[in-house]
Symmetry: C2
């Protein structure tokens, strides 16, 4: 029998408490699956006395989380505090200094300080595992770094934020406005009281940067990601998209394009009968497109204590089995900076929502602008006529470039009969 | 730099040739991802001269596949001949005798001789990796054995046979009869000239037995699987199911029930708006339901040279990274025989297709039988009236037991006004 693997957990919030519970409840099973006893020996959290429905009386308590790494009776440091600096970073540094493996759910740390973590790893005998940092319980890091390791990755994309997906699903089912559904989501605990990190696409961008790093062997870096959140989506868009055979989803997309990697987080139209359209509520889903395997979809719960704990403990199982891998799947010295493609060069078809005064000649003016920029119309939808106020007109285009569509939007917004700036969304059918 | 990993491939059919091509094409990438050169040194196949669009002139040729294992310049034996006995078994035995790792796509071998392979492994320093044996390119073995290793698995189920899924998808889209679509599938190469292995559910059962073994730490064994294929499905069933809000899919299901593991392969009704209903054509999809993670879905191409090669080479990557695992994820000595649940005790709701003469009192007779067996009706559909010949009547039930529904079917088939045996399908909503 191998030595027990001694676990120190820093951070006992929702996820930390679930990890504690899982390790306590499934001790026998984990012993069978790893050949080693997996034993929690130390914890640290903000408050020792908070009720978490777990019994921490038999493990050592550290007031300072960094002491979890320093503890000689801790073999693996589980960092569940979050944050890209401060105690989380200090703890990871200390653990790697001491050559101890780290397991973390901290996406902000990897997305903002990927280069720093890679530098630390070059000098350390330790490792950093982060299955829980992206898409909660879905084993997407393992899928990308191991399961599809035989493939050159063409693209990785999907629904990476459960809060946005819940809001868009609810808007779709109820026809309610964004603000109404957001409030409901906040009441149910699906959205934070300050929801901007989720609904403005920042959380999804953090996750995408990590997937992109794995897919293309690069340092995760959010700064190359084009980000648009879901605040601008109206019940009108949901209804028109549905009539056109689409659902609206906030997608993170990273793909190999001419000249580099294209990365974006933005609401997109996806075909109603596609599997990704059927991903409802707080679920996440990630497609990985490899040159030999084709497209593989992974779907499941992207957040929550128990699903995230499943991912954290799968990393612990890998450490116990002696199988931790380099951060980005290749030697840290070989990880390069990401070469970003010019976003203006990207191709695609688009959905354009306009609010126009219902006057003779409006559509002719708009059509002329499209023609001048060589953008070809796929469809024009207008609902309702009202001479006294603006009415919605929806255009969809055939394939064009981001540059052309932006110029079109700019020109259209200058028309007197157009009362608000055009709202653009990409139509993603992923047929490539 | 570590030593090169020298690969011997036995079997150069569709998959073997793709593996050869992948390893040749992605040599640099695999070197980067594993830290070792992955080099093919030897091959064996039935005919040396067959044109496969690969250049085998620079590797050693063996007429006898077992010599691939004997070759001192082969570190890893890749078995792609198939078959549960004969040369494939001899090759695996020899490789394990010599302590060499084996990578295989051979589901029949594992499903029929799992216990024998486990015995060989107990005495060997080698390993057997088999990602390609189930669901082609989808990394479901890795997902189950590693990605979700922190969970007690409650169930694993899904679409495991692309031929059947193609046929059912086509029937659904075209309304054509089974025999017509089968012929088309044969012409397109999606079905074998003798299709029974696929359409009678045997192939899916082989795969399910392997998933079940991994999920529950048992020896794979097809003999405990209740198997029904798709020959009996008519366009009527497809249409009625659609009216009721369902699609028909051939599902393999293994789940923890009272008294043991329930295992079945059979056509089932799944809700039309569920992600599994959107799995079309030759795709495969597998759900894994774990106690912490909840339900995780993996979807992708379940067959074909390139997707299967992706899985084979992911196993080679694991071997190159020094990460091969025990066959069933736990020490071979700990793998137990599967304890099967009594299939008659399983619960569920059912779809029943009857052909009845449209005479007064028929529905009353049928209803009385249901009542006598305490089976509660959810809906009754009848289309068309014709006093001269039998018309279809579709019943759906609330939850009952397999035993009750079989008795009901038996009683109903004895009614004079019922012209053919009732056709039963389970309704699987997977809400549990």
């Amino acid at each position: 029998m191998a030595q027990p693997l001694r676990i120190g957990i820093a951070g006992l919030g929702n996820v930390g408490a679930s990890v504690f519970q899982l390790l306590s409840e499934h001790g026998d099973m984990l012993l069978e699956r790893t050949g080693r006893e997996v034993r929690i020996t130390a914890v640290s959290a903000r408050s020792k006395l908070k009720n978490r429905n777990i019994d921490i009386s038999k493990v050592k308590w550290h007031d300072n989380p960094v002491d979890v790494a320093n503890d000689p009776e801790v073999d693996v440091v589980v960092e569940l505090m979050g944050g890209s600096s401060g105690p989380a970073l200090d703890l990871v540094k200390k653990a790697l200094d001491l050559g101890k493996p780290v397991v973390t759910a901290n996406k902000a740390l990897l997305a903002s300080r990927g280069a720093e973590v890679l530098d630390l790893l070059k000098k350390s005998k330790g490792s950093v595992s982060f299955e829980a940092a992206v898409a909660g319980g879905i084993p997407v890091i393992k899928g990308l770094r191991e399961g599809l390791a035989a493939n050159r990755i063409k693209a990785v994309y999907g629904i990476l934020n459960g809060t946005c997906n819940f809001i868009l699903s609810e808007m779709s089912h109820t026809g309610a406005a964004f603000a109404t559904v957001l409030k409901e989501a906040q009441e149910k605990g699906y959205a934070e009281s300050d929801p901007s990190f989720d609904i403005d696409g920042v959380d999804a961008a953090h996750k995408l940067s990590i997937l992109s790093g794995l897919a293309f062997g690069c340092v995760p870096d959010v700064k190359h990601i084009e980000i648009k959140g879901i605040r601008g989506i109206t019940p009108l868009d949901i209804a028109f998209a549905s009539d056109l055979g689409f659902r609206i989803k906030l997608l993170g997309i990273a793909r190999q394009a001419e000249g580099g990697i294209e990365q974006s987080v933005e609401p997109c139209l996806v075909p109603s009968d596609s599997p990704i359209a059927a991903v409802e509520g707080a679920l996440n889903a990630v497609y990985i497109d490899g040159d030999y395997v084709g497209k593989v979809l992974l779907m499941g719960y992207g957040a929550g204590g128990n699903p995230t704990a499943s991912a954290v403990v799968s990393d612990i199982v890998d450490v116990a089995r002696g199988r931790a891998l380099p951060l980005m799947g290749i030697a840290s010295e070989r990880v390069s900076s990401l070469k970003a493609a010019n976003i203006l060069a990207r191709k695609g078809s688009y959905y354009i929502r306009l609010m126009v005064l219902d006057q003779p000649g409006v559509i002719a003016d708009i059509s002329a602008i499209l023609r001048d920029h060589k953008v070809s119309l796929e469809s024009v939808l207008q609902r309702g006529r009202d001479p006294h106020q603006a009415v919605p007109v929806i255009l969809t285009t055939h394939e064009t470039t981001e540059e052309s569509i932006r110029r079109v939007a700019e020109q259209i917004s200058k028309l007197k009969s157009v009362t608000e700036p055009p709202y653009l969304m990409r139509i993603e059918e992923f047929n490539g």
